[in-house]
């Protein structure tokens, strides 16, 4: 990783086209931007959209996925719809959502929620389905009620997959947020990068890029931390 950065910086010193900035240059611009208030307001605006969207989509996805994993009737009804619409880029619904829910943040939050729903649903679904039957039987044998089996057996055994799904959803939430802001917004990192692109402000472009990279990376790390604590009894492979 460090090697790549070194090579990049050397190339920059040698001379690169105007639209590619060297790492040191980018860091310089970034620290300037950190000092100004503008960057924080954009970051705030972006997070105000992606986090609620992520939360809503993931929670619904987990709930629906687990439900479909254990209840066959629900499964038969819901799963085909989900798997059918999976390859559709959810962002195409953005213009329609904006028409229905206004051009403000609400429509964007909904789109992000919609996109985040899928990975968590699919993973929770498979997670619930792959609960080792023997554990369920032992539970039933010991007289545990259905709800107890669900919360004490199914959910914990599905957790690893659920976390994997959440990881994908988190990355997805940033992508969809960024795309929605690039298409149509007045604030936020996606808007910033487009405004910078229009004004040939390459410094701002890279600042926006670095900001979202940091956000994505930090979010992922946080999630990994949470997973580590929640799955303390499991060894990690991935």
């Amino acid at each position: 990783m460090l090697l790549v950065l070194l090579v990049w910086e050397l190339l920059w010193i040698r001379g690169l086209p105007a639209y590619v900035l060297g790492p040191v240059e980018i860091l310089k611009d970034f620290s300037i931007a950190l000092g100004s208030e503008e960057l924080y307001s954009h970051i705030g605006a972006s997070l105000m959209r992606s986090l609620p969207g992520f939360a809503i989509g993931t929670l619904l996805g987990i709930a629906a996925g687990l439900a479909a994993g254990i209840a066959r009737g629900f499964d038969r009804m819901l799963s085909p719809v989900i798997f059918l619409t999976y390859p559709v880029p959810k962002i195409v619904m953005l213009p329609l959502f904006m028409l229905w829910f206004g051009i403000g943040d609400f429509s964007k939050i909904l789109i992000i929620a919609l996109a985040c729903f899928y990975p968590t649903f699919i993973n929770a679904y498979y997670g619930a389905k792959s609960t080792p039957a023997i554990l369920v039987w032992s539970g039933l044998n010991m007289g545990a009620g259905r709800w107890r089996i669900f919360s004490r057996v199914v959910v914990p055994s599905a957790l690893p997959l659920i976390f994997a799904g959440m990881r994908v959803s988190l990355a997805l939430s940033f992508i969809v947020m960024f795309a929605a802001e690039m298409i149509n917004a007045r604030s936020g990192l996606g808007y910033l990068i487009r405004a910078a692109e229009n004004g040939l402000r390459f410094d701002l472009m890279y600042v926006s890029l670095l900001s979202i990279a940091i956000l994505g990376y930090a979010g992922d790390r946080l999630l990994r931390l949470a997973r580590g604590r929640a799955l303390a009894w499991q060894e990690q492979g991935a």
Binding site: M98, L99, N198, L200
Partner: protein
């Protein structure tokens, strides 16, 4: 005893809330754009020029990059009225949107004193005339906007088929100059104040203007209101337009001062010296609409561009009855 007290309480509250509502002047949520709408912006920059504002209506201006968003916001119920190219309103009406044109802002007119939206290319580039745009890209502000129409008209005049021979690429005004210079697009749309700023920077050459492309003077920007709002708040609209005409007259008589005020209020970003020297579009002091030109544009949209599926009666889409006599 208690029940009658409750009823009395409710009646009084209801009555007082009615009173309050009656005293609050209706709010006009107005969608504005980036360029050429000086009189409208002045209404917010210099409220002292608008005697009715705050009394008969309140004004909230919301900025939009391009037209399609404005209409979508209107459909989503977020706007009561706004600015738009007259031809775009015709187009929207033809699609079933309930809106009417009530006043004129400015026109594209031929002549040295007036500015007309200009399409420019790189000075040292290979494009010498519109015919050379074959296989290239033209930047416009939005799909189905006036800039889109003029670009297509200019291309058709040179025998080039839009979309097939030349791509039409939507992007914002601020980025046009650099997009042309860096070769992202071959030709871009330029309006004041961006036009003068780009000319001052140099490196761009004029290809054709909007008036040349269409061939006759025509309405550029107009004020529209939603049909429902016109029915429920006609007095607010009348008061708004009365102020608007007054501000228009002020603007035409004191252009330099007005421009300074607009610049100070942040409506225009171009450096002040360049902005002051800009040529301006033609504006009618009474905000009267040139209906005939809109009629011709609608026929053009129908026959040459296939934007309309059937002919429209332009007269139905315009209502000048709200303007002061």
């Amino acid at each position: 005893m208690k029940r009658s007290r409750l009823v009395a309480f409710l009646v009084v509250t209801a009555f007082s809330s009615f009173n309050v509502a009656a005293q609050e002047p209706p709010l006009i949520r107005f969608g504005r754009g980036f360029a050429a709408e000086e009189q409208v912006w002045l209404m917010s920059a210099r409220p002292d020029l608008t005697p009715n504002q705050g009394k008969k209506y309140q004004l909230k201006q919301i900025l939009f990059q391009a037209n399609p968003e404005r209409f979508q916001a209107f459909l989503a119920g977020e706007l009561d009225g706004g600015t738009a190219p007259g031809l775009a309103v015709i187009f929207a009406r033809a699609q079933g949107v309930d809106m009417k044109i009530v006043a004129s802002i400015c026109l594209e007119a031929a002549g040295k004193e007036w500015f007309s939206t200009t399409y420019m290319v790189k000075d040292d580039g290979p494009v010498r005339s519109a015919a050379d745009l074959k296989g290239g890209t033209v930047g416009v502000v939005g799909i189905k906007t006036a800039t889109d129409l003029w670009a297509r008209a200019g291309l058709l005049n040179a025998g080039v088929v839009p979309d097939k021979d030349t791509k039409i690429f939507p992007m914002g005004f601020p980025g046009m100059g650099d997009a042309v210079r860096t070769g992202k697009i071959n030709a871009g749309t330029f309006v004041e104040p961006f036009y003068s700023a780009e000319v001052a920077r140099g490196g761009l050459r004029k290809l054709f203007t909007a008036v040349e492309a269409v061939g006759y003077d025509h309405e550029l920007l107009d004020i529209w209101f939603g049909g429902k709002f016109l029915k429920t708040q006609p007095e607010a609209v009348r008061a708004f337009l009365a102020d608007y005409v007054a501000v228009t007259k002020y603007y035409l008589a004191n252009t330099a001062q007005a421009k300074r005020d607009l610049h100070k209020a942040g409506f225009v970003r171009t450096p002040l010296e360049i902005y002051l020297k800009n040529a301006d579009w033609k504006r009618d002091p009474n905000a009267r609409i040139d209906v005939a030109s809109l009629d011709r544009l609608s026929k053009f949209m129908l026959e040459k561009l296939q934007w309309l599926e059937k002919p429209v009666t332009v007269g139905e889409m315009i209502d000048q009855g709200y303007l002061p006599r």
